[in-house]
Structures are given as C-alpha cells and as structure tokens.
Symmetry: D2
Subunit: 357 residues, 4 copies
C-alpha cells in the first residue's frame, strides 16, 4: 500500500504540505557507493523552482535541499537517503477566504469528502510543491542511471494551441534549457511565450504537453505482465498533478495506421539487431528492446485563474472570489524536470529489478 | 514486486502461457460472503473469447472456467479464489517456423534478451490469452462492485480511421453487445465492420480506441499522491497487451483549452454539490469526486498480418514468412471486457482501501 | 498486502482448502534458465505427506504435483510457475458433526468471527494441507539455492519431553531421513518414537521443536532494519500452522550469558575473517556474516485428540464429541520439510535482493 | 521491498544514523481526524531515551521530536506524518580508533561485506538510535488504538539470570515505570538492579527478556496464512536490534505439554464465548480470538563491553581496544517502549486491514 511511496526496489516516499514546515522524502534502496553530486541535485530542484522567468509563477523560494542521512564521505551507504526543503515565503493570509469554499477543478472538495478534514491552505498534498521531493529523488536516480549510460530528456512540445510538430529526432535537445518555456525549437518557443503572455494579461491559463526521450536503455527492463515498462511509466506520469494523458511510441495517432505501416521492420547494424522505424517506442511486450523510449504526457489548463472565479461553499451557495497567490499560466515548463524525475525513478527501479531475472 | 500480480488489497496474480496446460489466476483479498454468480463470470469470459463473430479471430476455444478454491456454499470465504481455464485447440506446429526468427513488433526479441530463453509458441506471457485471467478476476470484482451500485461500461469508439464522435452521454450503452465490434452506435459500427472486412481481405490490420465509463463512484476513492485513481487506472490499462495510450476526462484534447473554459463550474442539485461540466473526468487531486469517471485507451494495430512478413533470425538474416495461426484484424472489440475487468480491479481495490482512511 | 503471498522478489502465493478441488500455488520471480528437477520437487512433497510411517498420521494421499506454467524445455522461463495437487481421499462426512461446534484450540471460532462464514470441513485455510504448496515452492527455491552452494537441513530436536541435547555440529544430518521422527540421533529418535506410541495409545498428542541449519550463505543477505534476515525467517516460521516460537543463534538461552562470554571472538583462517564461536547464529545487524545460520522453531501439541473432547456451539452450549479424521500425535516430523521450504524461500528471496544493493 | 519500511496499510519508514543530522521517519496511512497528543508521543520517546537512571546508559540527548507534516489544527489529515529528532551530543572522536577494525558481534563486518562501505561511527543503521523513530511511529499507532480500547503493556521479565517467574496476570503492570529496569515486581526489580550494578562494575553486560501483553483485541485481526498475527509480531520483534527470539502463548515451554493439557477449554460468560485457559496466547489460526495476546522477546547481551576487547582489522590482525562511548549493561529496560511500539504498529495495521475483509 503506502500511497505516498513509489517504486519497488528503489522506493521514494514523500511528505509535506506547502504550508507546513518542510517538504521532503526518503529514497530507499539506492545502491551503495554512488557518488552524490549535490550540485547536480540542487540544480535539478532549481529547474523546478518557480520564478525562473517572467513567464512562470513568481513565488520565489530558495528551495535549498538538505540531505540528512544515507551518505558517508560523499557516497551513498545503502541506507535510506532522507532529504527535505524547508518552506519559506508562506502567505497563509492569502488563503483565509478559501476556508469555507471549494474552488472549481481543485482537489479540496474530494479531499474533504474522503478525509472529513482539509487543509485549505495551498492544497495540502495536492500542492505542486510536493513534486519537489520527486525531483530530488529523481535526481539521485539520474545519478545512478548516469553510470549505466542511460539518458533522459524531456521538453515542452505543446502549450495551448501552439504545437511543436517536429519529431524529437530533428531537435537539438541541448537547447531546451535556453527556452523560458523549455521548448528546444526557438521559433515555436517564441510563439509559446507570446501565448502565455497573452493569457497572463487576460488572467487566464492553458494546458501543455511534455515529450520525454529515454536513450541507451538496455534490452531487458520491464516485466511482462502487470509491471510492463509502459505501465509503470504511465502510472508515474499520471501521478503528477494536472496530468491527464499518457501515450508512448505511436500512441493515439498509431490507432489509425495499418499494421503493415506500423510494424517496425528489423534491421541489422554493426552486428546488432535493431529496427528501422520505432513506432513501438522502444518497448515490446512490456520490455525495453534497446531502441529509444519516447512518450508524451498531457497536462490540463491550470485551474487557478487570476480573475474572479465562481466558488461554492459547504451549504451549496455560490460566490465569486478573486484568488490570491502566485500561479503559472501553464504548468508544462516547470513540469519538465518532474517528468524526467519520475521517468528516472521508473527506469532505475526496473534496472535494479532486471538484475534479479 | 511480483510482476504477475496487480492490486493491493484486492490482488490478482495470473499465470499460464497459451501453449501450456492452462491459464488462470488467484484473486486474493476478496471480501467474504460475496455470492459468486458463476454464470456471470463465465459470460464475461465468453465476451473475451475469440470466434464470437466473423469479424474477430477464429480460434474457437470453450474457455470453460473452473473455480478451485475460496468458495463455500456458493459464497466467498475470504480465502484466495483460484481459477483456471484449460488450454485446448493448440496447434504448436503452426509455430515451428518461428523457432529461430523474430517477428516484427512482437515481444520475442525483448524476451530473449531479458531471459536468455523464449517460448516461441504463441508469445509466452505476452499472449493475449493471459487476459482471460484478468477477465475472470475482474468479473469477481464486478460482482463485488455491483453491491455498491458502481457500474463499468466500455465500448469501441474508434477502429482505424473510423471514429465514433458522439460523447458517451448521447449513446445507449446497452446496445454495445449487439454490435459485432462493440460500438453502440449502429451506423458507426457498420462502418467499422466494413473497414475490418476490407483490411481482412487485404491481410492487414489496424488499431482501435476503447472508451470506458464508470458511474456511481462515491467521492473518496484514490490516494492523493502516487496512488491517484487515474495513476492506477493508467497502469492497469497500459498493462493490457497492445495498449499505447491512456487519457481521462478532457485528456490530450483539453491541453489546448483555456482554464476559463476547462474549469468545471459548481452546481448544487438535490442537496448535493456537483459540477455542470466534467472535464475533470470524475477525479480531482487523484480522488473521485462523485461525477462519472471516463477514460480512453488506445490500442496499436495488430502486429501479426495475414500476409508475407519480413522476419529476422538470431544471425541477423532476414526472411519472409507467412504467419499461421488465427488473428484479429483489430484487438479493440475483444479488449472491451479486458478494459472493464482491469477498471473493476482498480476501483474495487480502491474501494477497500478507502475503508481504512 | 496479499495475505496469501510470501516474499518479495521471489514470491509464493498459495491457494486451496483441504476439501476443495486442489491445493497449490504460484511462484513468481524465479530466475529464468533454472533446470527444474521434477523428481526432486515431488520427493520433497513426499517427505511432507502423511502416512510415511506408523508414527505419523494415516491419511494416504498421493499428492502428485502438476506444474502448469513457467517451464519450457525443462527450464524456467522467468514466467510464474503455477502448480497444484488435486485433493483425493476426502471424507466430508467426518466433519458433519463439526458443523455447529467449535473445537478447542482450533481456528474455527476466530475464522467465523472474522469472516462471518467458515468452511468447517478440514479447517479451511488453516489446514495443514496448505503447507503442501509451501513445500513445492520451497523445493524450487532449493533448486535455485543449490546452484549457489547454500544448503538447508532441518531435523527434529525435541518431541514432548524428549530432547536431543547435542549441538548440531555433533550430529550426522544425513541420517535425519532414516528416522521415522526425523531425529538424526538414533537413540533419541528411538525414545521419541516410544513417546509418540505411548501418547497415541492414550489418544493424546504433544509438541515438538525443529532445528534448522543453513550453510554456505555468503555474507550480504538481509537488509539492516525491518527486513533483517532473522526478522523474515521469524515471520516465515511463525506463519507455519502450530508454530509458537522462534529463536536463532543463542536464542532465549543466550539471555542469561554475560557479554564477555557471548561475544564471538574473531578468527582469521585461510585468508578469511571468521569467528571461533557462533552465538550470533550467522547473522549480525540483520545481515548474514558467512557463518552457519541456525534457528529453532517450537510447535504446540496437536489440538485434535483421538479421545472425547469438549466443544461448544454458537449458543454457548458445551458437548463432548469424538473427533474423526486422521491426525498426527506430533506435527514436528512432518513439519521438517515445511521449515526447510520456508527457509529456502527466505534465503532465495534475500539472495536476489542482495544482487541489487 | 523497501527494507526501511514496516507495515502495509499503516506503514512506517525510518531514516537516519546516529552520527548524521537527524533520525526520523514517515508514518503513512494513519487515518484522518486522529487528535495527536504531542505530549504523549514525546513521553514515549523519553521512555526510550538513555540516561533515565543510573543503571542505563549515560548518553544524554534531549530527543525532542518535531512533527513536520500531516497535521492540521492538531489532527491528522490522512497525509503522511513525517517527524524527526536532531542528533546532538556526538563524539565522533570516540570512534576514530574503530575506523579499521571490526568489533566482535557487531554489524560492521557484515555491512562492509554487503555494501563495500561502512560508516564506522556509531553503527550506521544498526544503531539503537534508529529505534527512536519506531517509538515515535508506534506512539501514533498507540493513540489510534486507544480509540478502539486496545491496550499494550510490556515489561522486563528477565535480566541475565534473574527471572520474574510470576505470570502476567498476577502483576500490577501500572508499576512497570516505577522500576529503573521496568520490572513491575519490586523484589525482582531490585535483584535485577543489583545484577546490573555488579556487571557494570566489572565492565560486563548481559541479556534480557521482555514480556508484552495486548488486551481487548477484537476477534478478527490477522490473516490466515502468511500474515498470521503472530507471524507479523515475530517479524516486528526480530527486527529490533539485539532480539534473538520470540514466543507467544505457551511458546517453547508448551512443547513438552500434552494436547489434553494444552487445549484451551471453552467457556461461556456474559453471553460471550471465551476460553478458561489461554495457552493459545489470544491467537488461533493466525487470527485474534478475543483473549489476551501475550508474547516474549529475548535480547542478547550487549556486545560493547566497558573493558579491553579483542578486535580484528581488514588484514586479519587482532588487537585489543578499549571501547569508548556510552553503553547499557542490558538493553531490555530501554527496549520496553520499542517492543510496545512495534506491537502497536502491527496491531494497528491489522486493525485497518480487518476493515476490508
């Protein structure tokens, strides 16, 4: 069980609310002897942090990570790695008005029905701030995967109506971080920024899509039936706040193809069996086949608008309230490191699992 | 771990290959005292069975279910319910040619890389026949859910290029089983049949989409972080053979909406808080909110074509082989009961879990 | 969860009641490529079987194992291994009288309180027959461990008041199977047989202790905190029907020693660090240290007596009934293969786990 | 997996080493709406704390607990409860000599064999300080159980050769905390103190036994096969540092009884079925039957002696070193709250589980 844990052999458990003392987690099962590059981990957190550019939310927290256990002389010891970031810059007063109302398309109503109690300040566990612990845990998983040669790169491929149509093979993914919206194509990035600016001025929001590419995965990861690699990637992605869809390889578009077009022809290159197309998305029968793994994650429009919004109270009375706080127009740019982190946790977990087959 | 198990409190473990003695499973955690309607369970298996109409595959097995344990005087006892279907109608000779070759877009290559051994007859655990155990386990979950009032209905909403555009609210889902392709709209069903016939004559295949509607779910199911209801539904669906994508509520299409359009306005009806639209798909913050849950699952074109196909052997030599065996043009019609079964397992598991909150 | 499953990477799930169609299980996670010696596995089942000698129970079932999945050309494929034994020789009429009464020190009352339903014939899941699936699963684990050099040997070290005082190092464990009570010391075995015969004639029963020795375990198995090797061994042993206690190394007797006597002095032999005594029982800090692992398991006197016994019905009325059926005087001799099987499952599971550290 | 987690529905994950920044944990799955009595929780930690009397170790840390998440307005919210205690009063210099040697009967050698790295300061995860997180998590479980009427009381029933022979029914358990060794019988307590003082003066140590009584458990807790209540209690107890044995009910002593003496006769009192003896220890077939649950846990003599001890270095060279630091003569008195905490976690977990049967 353990609804706040993810993974089997490499298991992340997270805790914390945006208006408590800290947000953090425990990463259990990380192999011993891994050199923990703290600058890299902090750098990943900084990528997730709000306020990185004027097109994303303005909340300015330092998000300084403290690692509390599981390290000795700079290396992992095999013991659980606990870490946290203290919360700062809280404005609980911003939420006073929210005490008795439910915001549209927010988790508050469902939480209260479930638990009979709801911390209305900042969304409780539904807060995007929880993803900070995923990014920290995922950064350690990335360090582990780095040793194996596996790389993970995500980028924004759609914001609202603006789409990046080019396949990932035609993009220079090293440019992703140069874009304020994490779109590696300069022209499309610029269109996306324009759209966000326009929406921001209107106090409105929109959705986005993130594409993620995992390379150099050895053929063997994933378990054939319920723990197919794509099944665990799908779970990982749909567990991210605001995610609404997941597809890998040819995905939804592949549905309308014929089998004769969709099958990936075999090729034989440099003494290795490979495929000349990759509609399979690097996974066959739930197991990685050595080709690139790629998938896309859809995120819904941000629910908190910077305009008067109609809410409802416990008595069923409607009222209009102007939300305070600091919110993004689109979550996709900041969700890029979260998608990478969750992917890293899945791949590293299956990497360890495959050692036991 | 346990890659062949699914669920936590209600846990299905499956076993069997299409060319072994039997395929079956164990359902553990089913509450005691549930009247097991064996006709209903067998009926669900019959829905999954090939050879139901001339537009689906011709393999004709009786798939007669035996329940071996966990029942006393017609009711569940709280003990694990083991069940199986014996395999019949095997033609291992059909697979002799496949011994040394890898078929395109099949699991064989990845299995052999992973395990160093591969049962080339019928796909091993990647066989669609494994889903029989899911349908049996899911049927028991449905019987459990029936007591709670929760209903689950899936149907085919796309085959190849033929799409059912009507939203589910405008369909009469009681007509699904009348359609040979399980599409409740007569006109679209007829178009789908035509497409399948045309592809069949050409020895080709295509993909499909299944839409699933879950109604009368009380607000409380799902855990806020990693075990969000949609995360476990996504895992369940992506664990089905040939599934390539999952989306719930507004899904991928919702990405290009504005927040002001996408937010579900609150309504107050019959003393109950509800919403007047349902882009959220019945889940907020990972927890059911009492509205209908609906999602879509994409299935890729069937990889086995009834035409000469290029294969490759372990030495990297290509050859063309005409596959034998009996295969569907599109998996979607027969996957409908599988989607329902996996959804039932997820919902029943979370229903039990919610009792402990 | 999954109360009918044991183990993590190597996971056994069992099913079946003594009066249903079959008893069996699924072993998931067994590495691929293991040659399954079916004679060995059947031989282990035969060791558990009643009716092996006139000092153990007379129920005579063949207990013929069928392996249904997970094997190809004699080797494991990495797929789940399902197996079962059909039940024969049932005398449900023996249990008709038991329908409305609770037997002393039996599980029936607790089952009925928990589930509201109870299969009074043969004890439901509390039947000793369930252990058959443990022995089958454990036999496969033993075959896996054999490749690593690890050996597991259990024997009866006490029956009722008759104790085998010699430490295991002074015994010839190859003689265990020659003894009708599985005690490798001929003189003590003979005393045990006498005691059992005397009790049998009196329609009475008694308890027993099994000692188990695990050799050649590499230093590395076990996880430091909650999954200490001894913690999982203790759970495994206390999950066996009728087990009442577990101790390893110096156990309860070590309590009254001084630290200066109890500490195991280091030795250095053949270029290897070892210890000259082994009060630690081969485990330090929850991790195997390379020395012999040894532990003892206490079993209570058999509750079913072959004499008039006072029972109680649901209305609280007492009555005396003469139990029918076939029962052992002491479970320990037949529990020897069960103890070994559970130990093998624990060690094999931790062996796989240690590959991921 | 997750070797640093315990429990299923109520799951404790712990972290921290005695020489890191903090020791703590996350308790996941605690039902919402529970009033967290912080004074009670801190009081439980204080019971575990060293330096409570001059017969236990002198390390004087405040062990002030901080609860970081999962509470709102004094009550649990259903979110994970994270907590920690900062480490103080560290004397790493005490351990400098230990850098290259292995202490007898300590975990260091096994850790280094397993992980290739070992934090020699204070024992890493093998430190008794880890149990602090168990006590904190267990205290919350106790608060939960308090609402159900279940009580848990442990006491010291043996130190070295000094035994408390009286059965628990003849003791006044409210006097346990008055005794410096947590033995509720004044005369025996006094003998124990004398023994400890004598051993302390000699720089020696000894073992102990803790007896634990759980009352008012409803008949229904425990799962019939692998998750028998006694199996999970045994795992919980053997996971405590220095524990060497576990027995419940009649335990090892019951082995030499006859079945006719050992069976618990039924009684009918106040309209309730009960038993007139309780050799079963409140559990039948793995399920609580409503009678008192009682068990005993053996602890080995403390390995660190306050005298010259022979150690060995990686090269196999022996040397004598005088250990520094602060150590108890016997762990049992301080382990009493740890035993209670682990028992509370097991019972609360099964209490939640039983809600789903």
């Amino acid at each position: 069980m353990a609804g706040n844990s993810f993974g089997q052999l490499l298991r992340l458990t997270t805790f914390g609310e945006s208006h408590g003392a800290a947000v953090g987690g425990i990463l259990d099962g990380c192999p011993a002897g891994l050199l923990l590059d703290l600058d890299f981990i902090q750098g990943e957190l900084n990528r997730r942090r709000p306020g990185q550019s004027d097109v994303v939310s303005l909340r300015n927290e330092k998000d300084e990570l403290q690692i509390v256990s599981g390290i000795f002389e700079g290396k992992t010891t095999g013991a659980p790695i606990a870490f946290w970031v203290q919360n700062q810059d809280q404005h609980p007063a911003d939420y006073a008005e929210m005490k008795d109302v439910f915001r549209p398309s927010h988790a508050g109503f469902a939480y209260e029905q479930k638990y009979g109690i709801y911390d209305y300040r900042g969304g409780g566990r539904a807060s995007a701030r929880e993803t900070l612990a995923r990014v920290a845990g995922g950064a350690i998983a990335k360090l582990f995967l780095k040793q194996t040669g596996i790389t993970i790169n995500a980028y924004v491929s759609q914001i609202g109506t603006v789409k990046l149509e080019k396949p990932y093979g035609e993009l220079d993914l090293s440019k992703t971080e140069e874009s304020p919206v994490r779109c590696p194509d300069e022209a499309v990035s610029s269109e996306m920024v324009d759209l966000i600016t326009k929406l921001k001025n209107a106090g409105d929001t929109t959705g986005g899509i993130i594409t993620c590419i995992i390379r150099h995965v050895p053929p063997a990861l994933g378990e054939p039936v319920f723990d197919k690699l794509q099944a665990n990637l799908a779970k990982a992605m749909l567990s991210i706040p605001a995610a609404k869809g997941f597809e890998y390889g040819s995905g939804f578009a592949g549905v309308s193809m014929k089998g004769s077009e969709h099958n990936d022809p075999w090729a034989y290159e440099h003494g290795k069996i490979t495929t000349s197309t990759n509609f399979s998305g690097g996974i066959q029968g739930g197991i990685s086949n050595g080709e690139d793994i790629y998938f896309r994650v859809a995120f819904k429009p941000v629910a908190t608008l910077m305009q008067l919004q109609e809410m409802i109270n416990r008595q069923g009375e409607k009222m209009k309230i102007n939300p305070k706080g600091r919110h993004d127009v689109c979550v996709a740019p900041r969700a890029v490191p979260v998608v990478e982190a969750m992917a890293a946790l899945v791949i590293a977990d299956h990497y360890l699992w495959a050692k036991t087959n």
